[in-house]
């Protein structure tokens, strides 16, 4: 396989695509443009024929891994199977060619589906209404924080700026809260990731805006005291935000709304099976309870009998728009199709089997890493390679790289930060028992090698297109674009 950049394959004068001859004869000139408005240096884009472009990117695809190639137990990411039909759905011209500024009368199909999706997501989370605008999970978090702000402002409680976030939380939580204008206070958690109730107590004052939690928590445990926590926060005048990245665990079994949360974001690209696309696009709808509904972003979608329309006038206290148009619609439509196929029973079964798979794996694996732990987890669990590091010099990173050579995408590593040498494993419900068994065997094999020939693991990966990459160099002398001179 060639290792060249597309720019290095360029030859002056090649074309990979041609346009219809211009209908406006003699029109295609720069003359319209006064000199001052003209570009002076042309953009050095590559020049290739169609087949060369196809080969370049098909070749790149061969150097990439996706769920369709195998197991992807990336904790916190819910890498479940992406149903193929969803990809066809969004390419229907009725969806793909709809312009965002068409009138609502000409977009009834999509509006109906989006309205139905909000309804379904409310049903799944136990909330009242929501917005589909946020483009990703972090954007949903940020949106929810703005809702908190508006809520307090409207109550003239604008001194409430403190947001509590467990130390095990995903980095986007503190970043979103901070960027939304809040002060972040880190809450300690116990070894199983549960909220430290005593520490919580200390913060229940009138500067408290609220708390950002995920449940099951980052270690995959269900926060049993959640109702108590909710009561305490509410009594102190604060609000509760639910990070929905872990929602897959409790689909059909429990709902953030019933736990006492005021706002929820969902990761459509995790829980609802839409492909992650190598980093996005995702979608991060926010659902809220009664208290926050007046502040939801506009435009909202309203149903009047059989017709659907954009509406803003009923939301005078709205925080406004969070997305240029209405979010990642094509991602949301995939989720609509997924929900129609799963239905109420299927979705609950997905939750059950996601948890079954996690517990099955956990039973197999905890004894390899630590003292056997027979307690229940939910959709994921976290192992620590601390002992392996101490005894054999084998880190979580080494284990991850060894997995690459064995054709499996590694778990999330070094997250949460509260667990040393963390390996965070989330199998999801779409994996078969055989896949889990073979993962166990593979890990055992790696750990055997760790004892016998630790060097072999330090050398991994050896079967990938490249071996370990110098991260430090990348960050110290950043090369972030190609240049001809090089």
């Amino acid at each position: 396989m060639k290792d060249t950049l597309i720019f290095e394959e360029s030859r002056e004068g090649r074309r990979g695509f041609t346009l219809p001859a211009a209908g406006i004869s003699g029109g295609a000139k720069e003359d319209f443009l006064p000199k001052a408005y003209r570009r002076s240096t042309p953009a050095a884009l590559p020049e290739l024929s169609e087949v060369e472009v196809v080969r370049h990117f098909t070749g790149l695809s061969m150097k990439n891994y996706g769920i369709d190639l195998g197991f992807y137990p990336l904790g916190s990411c819910t890498m479940k199977y992406n149903p193929k039909v969803n990809e066809d759905v969004v390419l229907l011209p009725g969806f793909a060619e709809l312009h965002p500024l068409q009138t609502a009368e000409t977009a009834q199909g999509t509006l109906e589906l989006l309205h139905g999706l909000i309804t379904d997501l409310c049903g799944i989370t136990g909330m009242r209404w929501g917005t589909l605008q946020p483009f990703a999970g972090a954007h949903g978090e940020f949106t929810a924080m703005k809702l908190f702000r508006a809520y307090f402002d409207h109550r003239k409680d604008d001194h409430r700026k403190k947001i509590l976030i467990p130390d095990s939380a995903h980095g986007t939580n503190p970043a979103s809260a901070h960027l939304a204008g809040f002060q972040v206070v880190e809450l300690p958690s116990d070894p199983e990731g549960y909220v430290d109730l005593e520490a919580l107590e200390e913060h229940l004052d009138d500067t408290l805006a609220g708390i950002m939690l995920t449940n099951p928590n980052t270690l995959g445990r269900f926060e049993k005291d959640i109702r108590l926590i909710a009561r305490k926060i509410h009594q102190a005048g604060g609000l509760l935000y639910y990070d929905g990245a872990n929602m897959n665990a409790i689909l059909g079994h429990a709902r953030p709304g019933d736990m006492g949360f005021d706002a929820v974001h969902l990761n459509i690209h995790k829980t609802f099976s839409t492909p992650h696309g190598g980093g996005g696009p995702g979608s991060g709808p926010v659902l809220v309870g009664e208290s926050l509904e007046p502040y939801l972003p506009v435009p909202d979608i309203r149903r009047d009998g059989d017709t659907f329309r954009w509406a803003s006038e009923h939301r005078p206290r709205s925080i406004g728009r969070v997305s240029g148009f209405y979010g990642n619609i094509a991602v949301l439509l995939r989720a609509v199709c997924y929900l129609r196929m799963m239905g109420s029973e299927g979705l609950k079964a997905a939750g059950t089997l996601a948890v079954l798979n996690a517990n099955y794996l956990k039973r197999h694996l905890t004894s390899l890493f630590d003292s056997p732990d027979k307690s229940l987890c939910k959709h994921e669990f976290v192992l620590s390679a601390k002992t392996w590091k101490e005894k054999h010099g084998i880190t979580a990173l080494d284990i991850a790289k060894a997995l690459l050579d064995r054709g499996i995408h590694p778990p999330t590593i070094y997250f949460p930060l509260t667990v040393p040498e963390a390996l965070m494993i989330e199998p999801t419900e779409t994996e078969s028992r055989e896949t889990l068994d073979s993962f166990v065997d593979t890990l055992k094999d790696i750990l055997t090698t760790a004892k016998k020939d630790p060097e072999a693991l330090h050398r991994a990966p050896e079967k990938m297109p490249v071996s370990r990459i110098d991260e430090v160099r990348a960050a110290k002398t950043p090369i972030l674009r190609w240049r001809k001179e090089r």
Binding site: G66, P100, P281, S323, R340, M342, P461
Partner: protein, 448 residues
Amino acid sequence: MHPFLPHTDRDIQEMLDFCGLQKPEELFADIPEDVLLKKNLPLADGLSEFEAFRLLEKTAAKNRIESVCFLGCGSYDHIIPRTVNRITSLPQFYTAYTPYQAEMSQGFLQAMFEFQTMICELTSLEVSNASLYDGHTASCEAAVMALQACRDRNKVLYAETLHPFTKQVLRTHFYGTDVVLKEVQAPSGCFSLAALEEELDDDTACFIGQSPNIFGFLEDYTGCAEALHARGAFFIISSNPLSLAVTRSQGEWGADIGIGDTQVFGLPRFFGGPSCGYIAATEKLTRKMPGRIVGQSVDTKGRRAFILTLQAREQHIKRHRATSNICSNQALAALASTVYLSLLGPEGLKETALQNMAAARYLYDRLTALPGITGYAGNPFFNEFTLQLPKPAEQVAAEILKRGILAGVPYKTLDSRGSENLLVVAVTEKRTRDELEAYAEALQEVTA
């Protein structure tokens, strides 16, 4: 069994046994009784793939798609090479997660490095990232960059001629913070240096302009960079990147940050999303960049290799002190745009841009020759312009739609304070001469 759930009854039983459990319900024994959901989720029953597809196909047909589309304002009807979707449909790309494991993700990482390079080339700026959500939210990220780069300032200026939705997103973004947003007036529908200078002070972190602006007109930023830089403020320009093939780029105007949306590069309209935001900046702003950045490095054998870099900016390391909260971005859409640009190349892109410009000019001349119809502002434009109609634009558009033509965006639908007679019209290379003539005829009839 459900096709997405591989567990047979036997699997379930044996796996439960192994876990020391009897029934699946016991897996949820740790959920307190008062939280455990006792009823079914209020969803319809599951459908087979065929039924679900049919249902959605029928629902899609309730949308009215017109092949003759003059709508723009941030989403355009361009020709999309068929190859683009073939590439983004490769399973190794679309079913991958963010490339945390670089050795297993060289394909996507390299493609993003190529995307970054192309964005730098188009904007004439030095550093780009691997995409943002969209062109609107990109303005927020750019403003935050500027604010962070001059810590003591809290004022963000933006042009009146910015997309009204971008303004709304900016307002929401900074709501509840100590950042002050201020609009720089553009009474003539175009940027005015004098108006900027009126607002510019030592609290100003940046000014955000847009060119082509919301009315389609190209802004004349002569002197703008100098004025801003003299006051220590940053200059941010949002541009339709297709226009950059022929018009003066952000870097060429002296901007520090260039932003926009690559929807015009190979992405369907999709009712607004996914599209793909881009951001590029001068080198000194590198470590203030939001989002993922791919860098070039070497592997242990000295071979060129790509990896997510400068992660110290990001939330999973910096937590609440990160430059941005962005985690998932629009990678697959960025890949589509990279393929699009690779196919068109510099000549193809320029030809596309020129065709757009010529067709828009032609239609503009045709339409403004009609009685009672005038152009809204005087600057040159790229592929979009605004008309002043003798009647409310919504009414005119509704009439023209009866002839199967989406006539343009009534400005008032973007900005309720706007004049109701303004119609923003976009013309792409996809519009044929016959379609332009049909439009002119329709407009004449409707406004007669």
